[in-house]
């Protein structure tokens, strides 16, 4: 990597931008930087093609040193380290798929075809944001890329599986929101009182598995 683009984000953070959108690359870069505690990096935040570095209490040692380290990072694909595939059950019942008509209109496809495309794709968790445990999933077929709703809904039910532009997401709890709802998952994606707070992790591969309304209603909590 030759030229590293970065900017201050307040006096206690810097944002490195225009890096690879591959989350495996980003996680590798984080792990590499963690090998140098003297740099004074306390934590990391991933947003699309950006990596934000937060400084420790006493500040970064030297931003030039950090940038040099970022530049010297050699990305090696390590297939053994890829996280296991996570299967997310989802019910596409029209009572749950609040925006199936919008999706049909934009994609010029039947809802059944949309479901098939949604099920056949493999996704990857590339970031969490918006609210605790809300995963942004890469891998949505381009034919399903539909813009956000013009005016957001006040209430979107917990577990709603949703689409906005080229991203797929899941609302871990009830919330206002502007994504197109395609179905609902009975899984709990964020439980702060559990040891495993979130079953999904950054970099994890995800596939959806269709379940019936009956299975949804009888789903035992994870």
């Amino acid at each position: 990597m030759a030229y590293i683009k970065w900017q201050y984000l307040g006096e206690n953070a810097i944002e490195i931008s225009d890096i690879s959108s591959d989350i495996q690359f980003q996680l590798g870069l984080r792990d590499y930087l963690k090998e140098f505690p003297e740099l004074g990096i306390a934590s990391f935040m991933f947003t699309n093609e950006n990596l934000t570095l937060f400084s420790e209490k006493n500040g970064f040692m030297s931003i030039q040193h950090i940038i040099d380290r970022v530049a010297s990072y050699q990305y090696e694909v390590d297939v053994t380290s890829s996280l296991p595939l996570s299967i997310i059950p989802v019910c596409y019942d029209k009572a749950f798929a609040l925006d199936y008509r919008t999706l049909e209109r934009f994609c010029k496809l039947d809802f059944e075809e949309i479901i098939t495309l949604h099920l056949n794709a493999e996704y990857k968790v590339v970031m969490f944001g918006f609210m605790p445990g809300f995963p942004y999933l890469h891998g949505l077929p381009l034919s399903l890329a539909v813009p956000r709703l013009k005016s957001p809904r006040k209430i979107i039910p917990k577990g709603s599986v949703s689409i906005a532009n080229e991203m797929c997401g899941i609302y871990p709890n009830q919330s206002p929101g502007g994504w197109n709802i395609i179905g609902r998952s009975p899984l709990t994606l964020f439980d702060p009182l559990k040891d495993n707070v979130m079953p999904l992790k950054l970099g994890q591969r995800v596939k959806f598995q269709q379940i019936s309304k009956k299975d949804f209603d009888g789903f035992a909590p994870n």
């Binding site: 307040g10 944002e15 931008s17 809300f134």
Partner: protein, 318 residues
Amino acid sequence: MDLPLIKIINSGILSTIQAARRLDFQDYGVPRAGFQDKISAQLANWLVGNKKFDSLIESYANYFEFEVINDCSVGVQGACSEIRINDRLVPLDETHHLRTQDRIQIFNNTHGSIIYIAVAGGFSVTQVLGSSATDIANNLGGLNGMPLVQNHILQGSQSIKEMETRRIPKGLPCRAYFPKNTTVHVISGPEASLFTVSSLEAFYSCAFVISADISRVGYRLTGPLIHTGTHNIPSKTTFPGIIQIPPSGDPIILMADGPVTGGYLRIGVVAEVDQPILAQLRPGGRVRFLNCLPEKARLRATNQCRWIEELYHKKTDN
């Protein structure tokens, strides 16, 4: 062992348990929460011999009242102008040793927005994701993730043994933290270059008014509209202090409960050292932005911390 210490009689507009920020789960979408005005919070904790970030009550209130259930020592700081114990006026800047059935009324009618009430030993609340700070939007921390309301009873682990009385030394700049209007230092944000020259000029030269739309998530300002050609960007990192410009052109400053990502342009970031003063401004108060380099912001933060650090060290050396 935990004892019931106080019962809330009147909790004002919004009262929550706050403590150190929740820092370890930002990359999983969890906001920081924590003190809005860490200076006042740390002073309140100091008055009762606590650690700087022990859990205490943070209240947006013109009036706060509670009743004592079991003897305890209390420190009140922040935007309070008058404290009465059983209808008797007491000094603001010292420890109060309270007895069962005492009634404490805290008035705030002259300056600032936020009151802090600390109890010796801290309040007993469960830690969630590494912090006991309340995040109301996500139901985390504090008292079941909820705001405090009338009749809530707060527990503490304090033994009944009385502690020494502490007084905040004269000459410390505590009261300087509640001006009606203020100027805050701002470090240019990553999207500052997307604004027109005249917009940036207006941003750094005009006064903005704190609107009535303020919460622990963000303060919305009104003033000259700040315009840009681009309105939305893919979600990027946000945190308390970030100033966003939404399509309406009215700036929003993210506060303690601000989300970890946002799609509005980040024109700048309020220097940490100025965030307590900003948090204490009242609706109608004016704020001006002064562009500042990160190095200078860090230097000012070190100087601000110094007198708080000295205050804490003086007592622990005894």
